[in-house]
Symmetry: C2
Subunit: 252 residues, 2 copies
DNA sequence: GGCGGGCATTGATCCAGGTCAAGAAGCCGA
DNA sequence: TCGGCTTCTTGACCTGGATCAATGCCCGCC
Protein backbone atom coordinates (compact mmCIF):
# COMPACT_ATOMS: atom_id res chain seq x y z
CA UNK A 1 0.00 0.00 0.00
CA UNK A 2 1.46 3.40 -0.92
CA UNK A 3 2.27 5.56 2.07
CA UNK A 4 0.06 8.65 1.90
CA UNK A 5 2.69 10.66 3.76
CA UNK A 6 5.21 10.37 0.95
CA UNK A 7 5.24 13.76 -0.68
CA UNK A 8 5.79 13.93 -4.40
CA UNK A 9 7.94 16.59 -5.96
CA UNK A 10 4.85 18.16 -7.53
CA UNK A 11 3.32 18.76 -4.15
CA UNK A 12 6.48 20.31 -2.79
CA UNK A 13 6.42 22.82 -5.55
CA UNK A 14 2.76 23.72 -5.18
CA UNK A 15 2.30 27.46 -5.22
CA UNK A 16 0.19 29.43 -2.74
CA UNK A 17 -2.40 29.84 -5.51
CA UNK A 18 -3.08 26.13 -5.56
CA UNK A 19 -2.43 25.34 -1.94
CA UNK A 20 -5.37 23.82 -0.12
CA UNK A 21 -4.30 25.60 3.03
CA UNK A 22 -4.62 29.09 1.65
CA UNK A 23 -7.85 29.71 3.56
CA UNK A 24 -6.03 29.12 6.85
CA UNK A 25 -2.74 30.72 6.00
CA UNK A 26 -1.30 34.01 4.79
CA UNK A 27 -3.15 34.16 1.44
CA UNK A 28 -6.55 34.46 3.12
CA UNK A 29 -8.29 37.58 1.89
CA UNK A 30 -5.78 38.32 -0.86
CA UNK A 31 -6.70 38.90 -4.48
CA UNK A 32 -5.36 36.41 -7.03
CA UNK A 33 -2.70 38.81 -8.27
CA UNK A 34 -1.58 39.56 -4.74
CA UNK A 35 -1.28 35.90 -3.84
CA UNK A 36 1.15 35.64 -6.74
CA UNK A 37 3.27 38.41 -5.28
CA UNK A 38 3.30 36.61 -1.94
CA UNK A 39 4.15 33.41 -3.71
CA UNK A 40 7.27 34.95 -5.14
CA UNK A 41 8.87 35.53 -1.75
CA UNK A 42 7.95 32.12 -0.31
CA UNK A 43 10.67 29.48 -0.35
CA UNK A 44 9.60 25.87 -0.36
CA UNK A 45 11.90 23.30 1.13
CA UNK A 46 12.68 19.62 0.71
CA UNK A 47 10.90 17.43 3.26
CA UNK A 48 12.07 17.66 6.85
CA UNK A 49 12.60 14.40 8.69
CA UNK A 50 11.13 13.51 12.06
CA UNK A 51 13.31 15.01 14.78
CA UNK A 52 15.00 17.48 12.47
CA UNK A 53 15.14 21.06 13.77
CA UNK A 54 13.65 24.02 11.94
CA UNK A 55 15.55 26.46 14.12
CA UNK A 56 17.07 26.54 17.57
CA UNK A 57 16.52 28.91 20.44
CA UNK A 58 18.83 31.89 20.10
CA UNK A 59 19.12 31.60 16.30
CA UNK A 60 18.94 34.96 14.54
CA UNK A 61 15.44 35.64 13.26
CA UNK A 62 15.09 35.82 9.50
CA UNK A 63 12.10 33.78 8.43
CA UNK A 64 8.74 32.77 9.63
CA UNK A 65 7.61 29.29 8.70
CA UNK A 66 4.23 28.03 7.55
CA UNK A 67 3.68 24.34 8.07
CA UNK A 68 2.67 22.74 4.77
CA UNK A 69 2.45 19.07 5.71
CA UNK A 70 3.23 17.13 8.85
CA UNK A 71 3.59 18.73 12.27
CA UNK A 72 6.06 20.46 14.54
CA UNK A 73 6.58 21.19 18.18
CA UNK A 74 8.10 24.31 19.67
CA UNK A 75 9.91 24.00 22.98
CA UNK A 76 12.62 25.32 25.27
CA UNK A 77 15.20 23.39 27.22
CA UNK A 78 14.60 23.41 30.97
CA UNK A 79 17.47 24.02 33.35
CA UNK A 80 17.29 20.36 34.39
CA UNK A 81 17.80 19.22 30.82
CA UNK A 82 14.16 18.42 30.16
CA UNK A 83 12.04 19.98 27.46
CA UNK A 84 9.16 22.33 28.04
CA UNK A 85 6.83 22.05 25.05
CA UNK A 86 5.20 25.36 24.10
CA UNK A 87 3.01 24.32 21.22
CA UNK A 88 2.18 21.93 18.41
CA UNK A 89 1.84 23.23 14.89
CA UNK A 90 -0.33 21.76 12.15
CA UNK A 91 -0.47 22.57 8.42
CA UNK A 92 -1.38 26.19 7.75
CA UNK A 93 -0.05 27.42 11.08
CA UNK A 94 2.85 29.85 11.37
CA UNK A 95 5.95 29.29 13.49
CA UNK A 96 8.40 31.94 14.65
CA UNK A 97 6.15 34.94 15.22
CA UNK A 98 7.48 35.35 18.74
CA UNK A 99 10.96 36.19 17.43
CA UNK A 100 10.21 39.56 15.84
CA UNK A 101 10.74 41.65 18.94
CA UNK A 102 14.16 40.34 19.91
CA UNK A 103 15.34 39.45 16.43
CA UNK A 104 16.17 35.99 17.67
CA UNK A 105 14.16 32.86 18.22
CA UNK A 106 12.84 32.41 21.73
CA UNK A 107 12.26 28.70 21.33
CA UNK A 108 13.35 25.76 19.22
CA UNK A 109 11.19 23.97 16.67
CA UNK A 110 11.47 20.41 15.44
CA UNK A 111 9.46 18.11 13.19
CA UNK A 112 7.30 15.48 14.85
CA UNK A 113 7.07 13.50 11.61
CA UNK A 114 8.23 13.89 8.03
CA UNK A 115 7.01 17.36 7.19
CA UNK A 116 7.38 20.21 4.76
CA UNK A 117 7.29 23.93 5.28
CA UNK A 118 7.14 27.24 3.46
CA UNK A 119 9.84 29.64 4.52
CA UNK A 120 8.92 33.32 4.39
CA UNK A 121 11.69 35.93 4.75
CA UNK A 122 10.21 38.31 7.25
CA UNK A 123 11.77 41.50 5.91
CA UNK A 124 10.31 40.81 2.51
CA UNK A 125 6.97 39.97 4.04
CA UNK A 126 6.96 43.29 5.86
CA UNK A 127 7.77 45.18 2.69
CA UNK A 128 5.05 43.38 0.79
CA UNK A 129 2.60 43.98 3.62
CA UNK A 130 2.99 47.74 3.32
CA UNK A 131 1.97 47.39 -0.32
CA UNK A 132 -0.90 44.96 0.24
CA UNK A 133 -3.17 46.12 3.06
CA UNK A 134 -5.04 42.84 3.14
CA UNK A 135 -1.78 40.95 3.62
CA UNK A 136 -0.87 43.24 6.47
CA UNK A 137 -4.30 42.62 7.92
CA UNK A 138 -3.88 38.88 7.65
CA UNK A 139 -0.52 38.99 9.41
CA UNK A 140 -2.14 40.99 12.21
CA UNK A 141 -4.96 38.45 12.35
CA UNK A 142 -2.62 35.50 12.53
CA UNK A 143 -0.49 37.12 15.23
CA UNK A 144 -3.62 38.03 17.15
CA UNK A 145 -4.73 34.41 16.89
CA UNK A 146 -1.41 33.36 18.32
CA UNK A 147 -1.99 35.65 21.29
CA UNK A 148 -5.49 34.37 21.99
CA UNK A 149 -4.28 30.80 21.60
CA UNK A 150 -1.70 31.48 24.28
CA UNK A 151 -4.09 33.19 26.65
CA UNK A 152 -6.48 30.28 26.29
CA UNK A 153 -3.62 28.01 27.19
CA UNK A 154 -2.96 30.16 30.25
CA UNK A 155 -6.53 29.62 31.36
CA UNK A 156 -6.10 25.90 30.87
CA UNK A 157 -2.89 25.69 32.88
CA UNK A 158 -4.04 28.21 35.45
CA UNK A 159 -6.91 26.38 37.01
CA UNK A 160 -8.00 23.22 35.25
CA UNK A 161 -7.66 19.65 36.45
CA UNK A 162 -5.63 17.04 34.63
CA UNK A 163 -8.58 15.40 32.85
CA UNK A 164 -10.01 18.75 31.76
CA UNK A 165 -6.61 19.59 30.29
CA UNK A 166 -6.32 16.38 28.33
CA UNK A 167 -9.91 16.57 27.07
CA UNK A 168 -9.37 20.16 25.94
CA UNK A 169 -6.16 19.18 24.19
CA UNK A 170 -7.80 16.30 22.33
CA UNK A 171 -10.78 18.36 21.24
CA UNK A 172 -8.54 21.19 20.10
CA UNK A 173 -6.56 18.74 18.00
CA UNK A 174 -9.76 17.21 16.67
CA UNK A 175 -11.15 20.56 15.62
CA UNK A 176 -7.94 21.70 13.96
CA UNK A 177 -7.60 18.42 12.09
CA UNK A 178 -11.21 18.64 10.92
CA UNK A 179 -10.57 22.20 9.64
CA UNK A 180 -7.80 20.68 7.54
CA UNK A 181 -10.00 18.00 6.05
CA UNK A 182 -9.01 15.12 8.33
CA UNK A 183 -11.29 13.08 10.52
CA UNK A 184 -12.42 14.82 13.70
CA UNK A 185 -12.78 11.56 15.60
CA UNK A 186 -9.89 9.37 14.50
CA UNK A 187 -6.31 10.48 14.23
CA UNK A 188 -2.71 9.68 15.05
CA UNK A 189 -0.90 11.66 17.68
CA UNK A 190 2.36 12.71 16.10
CA UNK A 191 3.76 13.75 19.48
CA UNK A 192 4.91 11.50 22.32
CA UNK A 193 3.18 11.12 25.67
CA UNK A 194 6.08 13.04 27.10
CA UNK A 195 5.41 15.97 24.75
CA UNK A 196 1.72 15.99 25.61
CA UNK A 197 2.49 15.88 29.32
CA UNK A 198 4.98 18.73 29.09
CA UNK A 199 2.58 20.83 27.01
CA UNK A 200 -0.24 20.31 29.50
CA UNK A 201 1.93 20.82 32.58
CA UNK A 202 1.48 17.23 33.75
CA UNK A 203 3.66 14.18 34.39
CA UNK A 204 3.92 11.51 31.68
CA UNK A 205 2.47 8.96 34.07
CA UNK A 206 -0.58 11.11 34.64
CA UNK A 207 -1.24 11.41 30.90
CA UNK A 208 -0.87 7.68 30.51
CA UNK A 209 -3.25 6.98 33.37
CA UNK A 210 -5.77 9.47 32.00
CA UNK A 211 -5.78 7.78 28.60
CA UNK A 212 -6.38 4.46 30.30
CA UNK A 213 -9.17 5.83 32.47
CA UNK A 214 -10.88 7.69 29.65
CA UNK A 215 -10.82 4.51 27.62
CA UNK A 216 -12.33 2.54 30.51
CA UNK A 217 -15.05 5.16 30.79
CA UNK A 218 -15.85 4.84 27.11
CA UNK A 219 -14.82 8.38 26.22
CA UNK A 220 -12.27 7.24 23.67
CA UNK A 221 -10.20 4.37 22.34
CA UNK A 222 -6.46 4.67 22.34
CA UNK A 223 -3.84 2.36 20.94
CA UNK A 224 -0.36 3.74 21.08
CA UNK A 225 -0.39 6.78 18.77
CA UNK A 226 -3.87 6.15 17.43
CA UNK A 227 -6.87 7.80 19.07
CA UNK A 228 -10.58 7.45 18.35
CA UNK A 229 -12.85 9.88 20.15
CA UNK A 230 -16.05 8.02 21.03
CA UNK A 231 -18.10 10.36 23.18
CA UNK A 232 -17.59 13.91 21.99
CA UNK A 233 -20.45 15.17 24.15
CA UNK A 234 -18.92 14.03 27.39
CA UNK A 235 -15.50 15.25 26.30
CA UNK A 236 -17.11 18.61 25.58
CA UNK A 237 -18.65 18.67 29.02
CA UNK A 238 -15.22 18.18 30.54
CA UNK A 239 -13.98 21.24 28.65
CA UNK A 240 -16.99 23.36 29.32
CA UNK A 241 -16.04 23.53 32.94
CA UNK A 242 -13.56 25.92 31.45
CA UNK A 243 -13.92 29.70 31.81
CA UNK A 244 -16.87 31.14 30.00
CA UNK A 245 -15.60 32.29 26.64
CA UNK A 246 -18.64 33.73 24.89
CA UNK A 247 -18.62 31.20 22.14
CA UNK A 248 -14.92 31.41 21.48
CA UNK A 249 -12.95 28.22 21.12
CA UNK A 250 -10.60 27.14 23.80
CA UNK A 251 -7.25 26.54 22.19
CA UNK A 252 -6.58 27.45 18.58
CA UNK B 1 0.87 66.02 51.01
CA UNK B 2 -0.26 66.17 47.39
CA UNK B 3 -1.21 62.82 45.90
CA UNK B 4 1.21 62.07 43.05
CA UNK B 5 -1.43 59.92 41.37
CA UNK B 6 -3.73 62.88 40.69
CA UNK B 7 -3.42 63.56 36.98
CA UNK B 8 -3.62 67.13 35.83
CA UNK B 9 -5.48 68.14 32.70
CA UNK B 10 -2.19 69.01 31.04
CA UNK B 11 -0.92 65.50 31.44
CA UNK B 12 -4.11 64.02 30.02
CA UNK B 13 -3.63 66.05 26.89
CA UNK B 14 0.01 65.22 26.41
CA UNK B 15 0.71 64.25 22.81
CA UNK B 16 2.73 61.23 21.73
CA UNK B 17 5.55 63.62 20.82
CA UNK B 18 6.00 64.59 24.45
CA UNK B 19 5.00 61.37 26.08
CA UNK B 20 7.69 59.84 28.27
CA UNK B 21 6.49 56.40 27.27
CA UNK B 22 7.14 56.79 23.57
CA UNK B 23 10.21 54.58 23.73
CA UNK B 24 8.11 51.68 25.00
CA UNK B 25 4.99 52.29 22.98
CA UNK B 26 3.87 52.66 19.38
CA UNK B 27 5.99 55.73 18.53
CA UNK B 28 9.25 53.84 18.94
CA UNK B 29 11.28 54.09 15.76
CA UNK B 30 9.05 56.70 14.15
CA UNK B 31 10.27 59.98 12.73
CA UNK B 32 9.01 63.18 14.36
CA UNK B 33 6.60 63.89 11.51
CA UNK B 34 5.23 60.37 11.61
CA UNK B 35 4.65 60.49 15.34
CA UNK B 36 2.44 63.49 14.65
CA UNK B 37 0.38 61.48 12.19
CA UNK B 38 -0.01 58.76 14.78
CA UNK B 39 -0.90 61.35 17.33
CA UNK B 40 -3.81 62.51 15.22
CA UNK B 41 -5.63 59.21 15.43
CA UNK B 42 -5.03 58.65 19.15
CA UNK B 43 -7.90 59.56 21.47
CA UNK B 44 -7.06 60.43 25.03
CA UNK B 45 -9.63 59.83 27.69
CA UNK B 46 -10.59 61.25 31.05
CA UNK B 47 -9.15 59.28 33.98
CA UNK B 48 -10.58 55.83 34.59
CA UNK B 49 -11.46 54.96 38.16
CA UNK B 50 -10.32 51.87 40.01
CA UNK B 51 -12.63 48.98 39.12
CA UNK B 52 -13.96 50.67 35.99
CA UNK B 53 -13.98 48.48 32.87
CA UNK B 54 -12.17 49.36 29.67
CA UNK B 55 -14.09 46.72 27.73
CA UNK B 56 -15.89 43.49 28.42
CA UNK B 57 -15.42 40.07 26.94
CA UNK B 58 -17.50 39.76 23.80
CA UNK B 59 -17.52 43.50 23.07
CA UNK B 60 -16.98 44.29 19.39
CA UNK B 61 -13.38 45.13 18.69
CA UNK B 62 -12.69 48.67 17.57
CA UNK B 63 -9.77 50.05 19.49
CA UNK B 64 -6.57 48.95 21.04
CA UNK B 65 -5.58 50.71 24.23
CA UNK B 66 -2.22 51.93 25.42
CA UNK B 67 -1.94 52.38 29.16
CA UNK B 68 -0.77 55.90 29.91
CA UNK B 69 -0.82 55.96 33.71
CA UNK B 70 -1.96 53.50 36.35
CA UNK B 71 -2.52 49.83 35.66
CA UNK B 72 -5.07 47.33 34.39
CA UNK B 73 -5.81 43.66 34.59
CA UNK B 74 -7.27 41.51 31.85
CA UNK B 75 -9.36 38.51 32.85
CA UNK B 76 -12.16 36.13 31.96
CA UNK B 77 -15.00 34.94 34.11
CA UNK B 78 -14.72 31.28 35.11
CA UNK B 79 -17.74 29.03 34.90
CA UNK B 80 -17.87 28.97 38.72
CA UNK B 81 -18.16 32.75 38.86
CA UNK B 82 -14.51 33.32 39.75
CA UNK B 83 -12.09 35.37 37.72
CA UNK B 84 -9.10 34.04 35.83
CA UNK B 85 -6.56 36.84 35.52
CA UNK B 86 -4.66 36.78 32.21
CA UNK B 87 -2.33 39.70 32.64
CA UNK B 88 -1.41 42.98 34.29
CA UNK B 89 -0.71 46.02 32.16
CA UNK B 90 1.58 48.90 33.03
CA UNK B 91 2.07 52.25 31.30
CA UNK B 92 3.24 51.89 27.70
CA UNK B 93 1.73 48.43 27.26
CA UNK B 94 -1.03 47.71 24.78
CA UNK B 95 -4.32 46.00 25.61
CA UNK B 96 -6.69 44.34 23.17
CA UNK B 97 -4.32 42.86 20.60
CA UNK B 98 -5.91 39.45 21.02
CA UNK B 99 -9.21 40.68 19.61
CA UNK B 100 -8.15 41.29 16.01
CA UNK B 101 -8.78 37.79 14.76
CA UNK B 102 -12.35 37.41 16.00
CA UNK B 103 -13.30 41.06 15.86
CA UNK B 104 -14.43 40.83 19.45
CA UNK B 105 -12.67 41.01 22.76
CA UNK B 106 -11.66 37.66 24.21
CA UNK B 107 -11.27 38.99 27.71
CA UNK B 108 -12.36 41.88 29.93
CA UNK B 109 -10.11 44.66 31.15
CA UNK B 110 -10.51 46.81 34.24
CA UNK B 111 -8.48 49.46 36.00
CA UNK B 112 -6.62 48.42 39.16
CA UNK B 113 -6.24 52.04 40.24
CA UNK B 114 -7.09 55.47 38.84
CA UNK B 115 -5.59 55.27 35.38
CA UNK B 116 -5.60 56.87 31.98
CA UNK B 117 -5.31 55.38 28.54
CA UNK B 118 -4.82 56.26 24.88
CA UNK B 119 -7.45 54.77 22.63
CA UNK B 120 -6.31 53.87 19.14
CA UNK B 121 -8.93 53.01 16.49
CA UNK B 122 -7.51 49.87 14.96
CA UNK B 123 -8.77 50.42 11.42
CA UNK B 124 -7.09 53.80 11.32
CA UNK B 125 -3.95 52.34 12.80
CA UNK B 126 -3.87 49.70 10.06
CA UNK B 127 -4.32 52.32 7.36
CA UNK B 128 -1.56 54.45 8.82
CA UNK B 129 0.68 51.40 9.18
CA UNK B 130 0.53 50.71 5.45
CA UNK B 131 1.84 54.24 4.92
CA UNK B 132 4.49 54.17 7.63
CA UNK B 133 6.61 51.02 7.44
CA UNK B 134 8.26 51.70 10.77
CA UNK B 135 4.86 51.96 12.44
CA UNK B 136 3.87 48.63 10.91
CA UNK B 137 7.13 47.20 12.15
CA UNK B 138 6.51 48.48 15.65
CA UNK B 139 3.02 46.97 15.74
CA UNK B 140 4.52 43.64 14.67
CA UNK B 141 7.16 44.01 17.36
CA UNK B 142 4.65 44.76 20.08
CA UNK B 143 2.41 41.85 19.04
CA UNK B 144 5.42 39.58 18.91
CA UNK B 145 6.34 40.72 22.41
CA UNK B 146 2.85 39.83 23.54
CA UNK B 147 3.33 36.32 22.15
CA UNK B 148 6.68 35.78 23.84
CA UNK B 149 5.29 37.17 27.06
CA UNK B 150 2.55 34.57 26.93
CA UNK B 151 4.84 31.70 26.08
CA UNK B 152 7.08 32.68 28.98
CA UNK B 153 4.03 32.58 31.18
CA UNK B 154 3.25 29.10 29.85
CA UNK B 155 6.70 27.96 30.93
CA UNK B 156 6.09 29.44 34.34
CA UNK B 157 2.70 27.76 34.82
CA UNK B 158 3.80 24.56 33.16
CA UNK B 159 6.41 23.35 35.58
CA UNK B 160 7.44 25.82 38.24
CA UNK B 161 6.76 25.61 41.96
CA UNK B 162 4.74 28.17 43.84
CA UNK B 163 7.71 30.14 45.18
CA UNK B 164 9.43 30.23 41.81
CA UNK B 165 6.23 31.64 40.33
CA UNK B 166 5.91 34.38 42.92
CA UNK B 167 9.59 35.31 42.68
CA UNK B 168 9.37 35.49 38.89
CA UNK B 169 6.26 37.64 39.12
CA UNK B 170 7.86 40.07 41.55
CA UNK B 171 11.04 40.41 39.53
CA UNK B 172 9.07 40.89 36.32
CA UNK B 173 7.12 43.67 37.97
CA UNK B 174 10.31 45.16 39.36
CA UNK B 175 11.98 45.21 35.98
CA UNK B 176 8.98 46.70 34.19
CA UNK B 177 8.61 49.39 36.83
CA UNK B 178 12.29 50.22 36.59
CA UNK B 179 11.99 50.56 32.79
CA UNK B 180 9.32 53.16 33.48
CA UNK B 181 11.46 55.16 35.86
CA UNK B 182 10.09 53.79 39.13
CA UNK B 183 12.06 52.07 41.86
CA UNK B 184 13.03 48.49 41.11
CA UNK B 185 13.04 47.51 44.76
CA UNK B 186 10.13 49.33 46.36
CA UNK B 187 6.66 49.50 44.92
CA UNK B 188 2.98 49.16 45.61
CA UNK B 189 1.09 46.21 44.24
CA UNK B 190 -1.97 47.64 42.57
CA UNK B 191 -3.57 44.21 42.33
CA UNK B 192 -5.09 42.16 45.14
CA UNK B 193 -3.66 38.91 46.49
CA UNK B 194 -6.55 37.22 44.78
CA UNK B 195 -5.50 38.66 41.40
CA UNK B 196 -1.90 37.59 41.91
CA UNK B 197 -2.97 34.10 42.91
CA UNK B 198 -5.24 33.72 39.91
CA UNK B 199 -2.58 35.01 37.55
CA UNK B 200 -0.01 32.58 38.92
CA UNK B 201 -2.37 29.63 39.06
CA UNK B 202 -2.24 29.42 42.85
CA UNK B 203 -4.64 29.75 45.77
CA UNK B 204 -4.84 33.08 47.63
CA UNK B 205 -3.76 31.35 50.81
CA UNK B 206 -0.62 30.06 49.15
CA UNK B 207 0.35 33.54 47.96
CA UNK B 208 -0.22 34.91 51.42
CA UNK B 209 1.88 32.18 53.02
CA UNK B 210 4.64 32.71 50.46
CA UNK B 211 4.83 36.43 51.21
CA UNK B 212 5.08 35.63 54.89
CA UNK B 213 7.76 33.01 54.36
CA UNK B 214 9.81 35.11 51.97
CA UNK B 215 9.71 37.92 54.51
CA UNK B 216 10.87 35.57 57.28
CA UNK B 217 13.71 34.43 55.04
CA UNK B 218 14.77 38.02 54.46
CA UNK B 219 14.04 38.01 50.74
CA UNK B 220 11.62 40.92 50.97
CA UNK B 221 9.51 43.08 53.22
CA UNK B 222 5.81 43.24 52.63
CA UNK B 223 3.16 45.37 54.27
CA UNK B 224 -0.23 45.06 52.70
CA UNK B 225 0.20 46.49 49.17
CA UNK B 226 3.72 47.73 49.73
CA UNK B 227 6.66 45.53 48.80
CA UNK B 228 10.38 46.08 49.25
CA UNK B 229 12.66 43.57 47.57
CA UNK B 230 15.66 43.00 49.84
CA UNK B 231 17.66 40.20 48.31
CA UNK B 232 17.47 40.45 44.54
CA UNK B 233 20.22 37.85 44.14
CA UNK B 234 18.38 35.13 45.93
CA UNK B 235 15.15 36.06 44.20
CA UNK B 236 16.99 35.77 40.90
CA UNK B 237 18.26 32.35 41.87
CA UNK B 238 14.71 31.22 42.45
CA UNK B 239 13.81 32.30 38.92
CA UNK B 240 16.87 30.89 37.29
CA UNK B 241 15.62 27.45 37.99
CA UNK B 242 13.41 28.42 35.13
CA UNK B 243 13.94 27.06 31.61
CA UNK B 244 17.10 28.22 29.97
CA UNK B 245 16.18 31.20 27.87
CA UNK B 246 19.45 32.30 26.31
CA UNK B 247 19.49 35.62 28.06
CA UNK B 248 15.91 36.44 27.34
CA UNK B 249 13.77 37.75 30.17
CA UNK B 250 11.13 35.57 31.68
CA UNK B 251 7.90 37.51 31.60
CA UNK B 252 7.59 40.80 29.75
C1' DG C 1 -16.20 57.16 65.99
C1' DG C 2 -17.97 52.90 65.48
C1' DC C 3 -19.70 49.31 62.61
C1' DG C 4 -19.94 46.28 58.60
C1' DG C 5 -17.85 43.96 54.76
C1' DG C 6 -14.32 42.75 51.92
C1' DC C 7 -9.37 41.51 51.97
C1' DA C 8 -5.51 39.15 54.18
C1' DT C 9 -3.36 35.98 57.27
C1' DT C 10 -2.90 31.68 59.74
C1' DG C 11 -3.87 26.94 61.08
C1' DA C 12 -5.57 22.16 60.18
C1' DT C 13 -6.65 18.75 56.99
C1' DC C 14 -6.90 16.40 52.57
C1' DC C 15 -6.10 14.81 47.97
C1' DA C 16 -4.70 15.31 42.98
C1' DG C 17 -1.09 14.52 40.87
C1' DG C 18 4.04 14.09 41.20
C1' DT C 19 7.82 10.87 42.02
C1' DC C 20 10.02 6.52 42.22
C1' DA C 21 10.38 1.95 40.64
C1' DA C 22 9.36 -2.01 37.97
C1' DG C 23 7.72 -4.18 34.02
C1' DA C 24 5.69 -4.47 29.18
C1' DA C 25 5.55 -3.40 24.51
C1' DG C 26 7.26 -1.63 20.38
C1' DC C 27 11.15 -0.47 17.40
C1' DC C 28 15.18 -0.68 15.48
C1' DG C 29 19.88 -2.37 13.67
C1' DA C 30 22.97 -6.28 13.35
C1' DT D 1 15.80 -13.57 15.09
C1' DC D 2 17.72 -11.57 18.78
C1' DG D 3 19.22 -7.97 22.08
C1' DG D 4 19.26 -3.50 23.53
C1' DC D 5 17.06 0.84 23.07
C1' DT D 6 13.22 4.02 24.05
C1' DT D 7 8.50 4.80 25.09
C1' DC D 8 4.57 3.57 27.55
C1' DT D 9 1.94 1.60 31.30
C1' DT D 10 0.95 0.32 35.96
C1' DG D 11 1.54 0.20 40.94
C1' DA D 12 2.87 2.17 45.56
C1' DC D 13 3.83 6.01 47.98
C1' DC D 14 4.44 10.93 49.22
C1' DT D 15 3.99 15.83 49.16
C1' DG D 16 2.93 20.59 47.62
C1' DG D 17 -0.47 23.18 47.51
C1' DA D 18 -5.73 23.28 47.57
C1' DT D 19 -9.52 23.53 50.58
C1' DC D 20 -11.99 24.52 54.70
C1' DA D 21 -12.46 27.31 58.67
C1' DA D 22 -11.53 30.87 61.88
C1' DT D 23 -9.69 35.26 63.02
C1' DG D 24 -7.67 39.71 62.23
C1' DC D 25 -7.30 43.97 59.91
C1' DC D 26 -8.22 47.96 57.10
C1' DC D 27 -11.20 51.11 54.91
C1' DG D 28 -15.23 53.28 53.66
C1' DC D 29 -19.65 54.79 55.18
C1' DC D 30 -23.21 56.33 58.14
Amino acid sequence: MPNPRVVSLDKIKVACQNCTLSALCLPLGLKEADVEKLDQIVKRSRPIQRGEALFHIGDPFQNIYAVKTGSFKTFVQSADGGEQVLGFHLPGELIGLDAILDNQHGCSAKALETSSICKIPFLQLETLATQLPSLQHQVFRLMSGEISKDTNMLMLLGNRSADERLATFLLSLSRRLAQRGFSATEFNLSMSRHDIASYLGLAVETVSRLFTRMQQEGLLQVDRKFVRLLDMDRLDELCEKNPHCHGRQLLP
